[in-house]
């Protein structure tokens, strides 16, 4: 969605424009926030941060601006800023925020490690998707999103027992696929 599209919709109906923008970017914003807050925040905090992000987008958008471009960059900046603020607030150890870590100038060994990690991440997502449905959804929801079998059962319309069984087999298959692709346990530590 571009600024122009959004402004045109805003002229017709503010609510519809906001709903349209929300529907288009909810998964993207959630992915940004979730990736940064996973491990330090509860799901409720993550939901709160996502709603803060959309609230900031809705209330902070300048309807009279002449700028026209993709909304994605603007949305990503607000999502990252909010997630970094939540991260700071929720981390009790006073560690640096991910945003500060990202802005810090990395040395060359970090760059090579980051490149390697990016490749492992790409392969992990790709191989998980190759498990096919519903196994890929089950694995992502359990091991990445942290949902339990009962919650996943509702998403994939299976019994919790069937989810558990499929999950165990899918993870075994995923490990084999990653191993064939040259990714071992030591690569992900």
């Amino acid at each position: 969605m571009t600024d122009k599209d959004y402004r045109n919709e805003l002229e017709k109906s503010e609510y519809n424009a906001q709903k349209m923008l929300f529907d288009e970017y909810i998964n993207y914003v959630y992915a940004i926030v979730f990736s940064l807050l996973r491990g330090v925040a509860e799901r409720e905090d993550i939901d709160e941060c996502v709603s803060d992000t959309f609230s900031d987008i809705f209330s902070g958008y300048d309807k009279n601006s002449a700028f026209d471009g993709e909304m994605k960059g603007f949305i990503a900046i607000i999502a990252r800023r909010n997630a970094a603020n939540y991260y700071k607030r929720l981390s009790s150890k006073g560690i640096t925020s991910p945003l500060e870590e990202l802005n810090a100038a990395p040395d060359t060994t970090d760059l090579s490690r980051e490149f390697e990690k990016a490749e492992i991440r790409r392969l992990l997502i790709q191989k998980t998707l190759e498990l096919g449905e519903p196994d890929s959804t089950i694995v992502f929801q359990k091991y990445f999103c942290g949902r339990n079998s009962k919650e996943i059962a509702k998403i994939v319309s299976l019994k919790p027992s069937a989810v558990r069984m499929r999950c165990t087999r899918a993870v075994r298959r995923l490990k084999e696929m990653l191993s064939e692709a040259g990714i071992g346990e030591e690569d992900i530590q």
Binding site: Q18, S59, K175, I188
Partner: protein, 244 residues
């Protein structure tokens, strides 16, 4: 390998990974999306209102005097008591399901032939690595049943919830088991499947949202019963004794 750590590599992901994740994973349910959207709209609205009020410099709104709602509190306590007693009654019903059958099927020496074995540990002693009870090879279970007559059972924590798996050898026929559970009020589904390379019948008995029992009969006579979520070992043993 700890699978949870496996996906930790996606934490603090780069932009490309974020794009891929957004395309691959459905992070929210429709109900969750609805809540987040409404909350966003309300926050944006209240932000707009408070800004407008501040700019005018005249009024402050959005605060109200707190009044304790005694009736709401009493209603809340009553609701909690109803939920707790309902849960206790549900557990009582589960334990006492089909009482006539329990009386007729439990032999007097039921405690003497019962063996509790940590089968995962037993597999590992034999150099077999198993991640979950349902992945234990059927042949190994059959051998264990012969070594430890009648029942091999172990408990297992999955998703931080309690589960138990129990293995039997020819305790009752599938038809007998079906008759047994059909006497309760619970919903039962039956389907044919393949387990460990054996033709098998799978019964799923759903009692309520929190309680479900799955029973698998393999053609080699092994019966696996699992899925006692959120139940104590004593209660599980009570159910197992009805199958014996």
């Amino acid at each position: 390998m700890n699978e949870k750590n496996f996906f930790d590599i996606l934490n603090h992901a780069d932009d490309n990974t974020i794009e891929e994740l957004a395309a691959a994973v459905e992070f929210t349910t429709p109900a969750q999306r609805e809540i987040i959207f409404n909350r966003s709209i309300n926050k944006a609205e209240s932000h707009k209102t408070s800004t407008e009020t501040y700019n005018g410099g005249i009024t402050v709104s959005g605060t109200e005097k707190y009044k304790p709602h005694i009736i709401s509190r009493i209603a809340g306590i009553a609701a909690a008591l109803i939920i707790i007693s309902g849960g206790a009654f549900a557990i009582y019903r589960v334990i006492n399901n089909s009482p006539e059958i329990i009386e007729s099927s439990v032999s007097s020496d039921k405690n003497t032939d019962y063996k509790h074995v940590d089968i995962i540990a037993a597999c590992q002693e034999q150099g077999m690595y198993v991640e979950a009870p349902e992945m234990i090879p059927a042949g190994f279970v059959a051998d264990m049943i012969d070594v430890k007559p009648f029942i091999v059972q172990f408990t297992y924590s999955y998703d931080e919830r309690f589960m138990s798996f129990a293995y039997f050898k020819n305790p009752v026929s599938p038809d007998e088991y079906k008759d047994l559970i059909s006497q309760g009020d619970s919903e039962i589904s039956e389907h044919d499947t393949i387990v460990n390379g054996h033709q098998a019948k799978w019964f799923e008995q759903t009692v309520n949202d929190n309680y479900e029992v799955s029973v698998i009969y393999e053609s080699n006579g092994i019966m696996t019963i699992f899925g006692f979520e959120n139940m104590e070992a004593e209660q599980i043993n009570s159910i197992i004794s009805t199958i014996k």
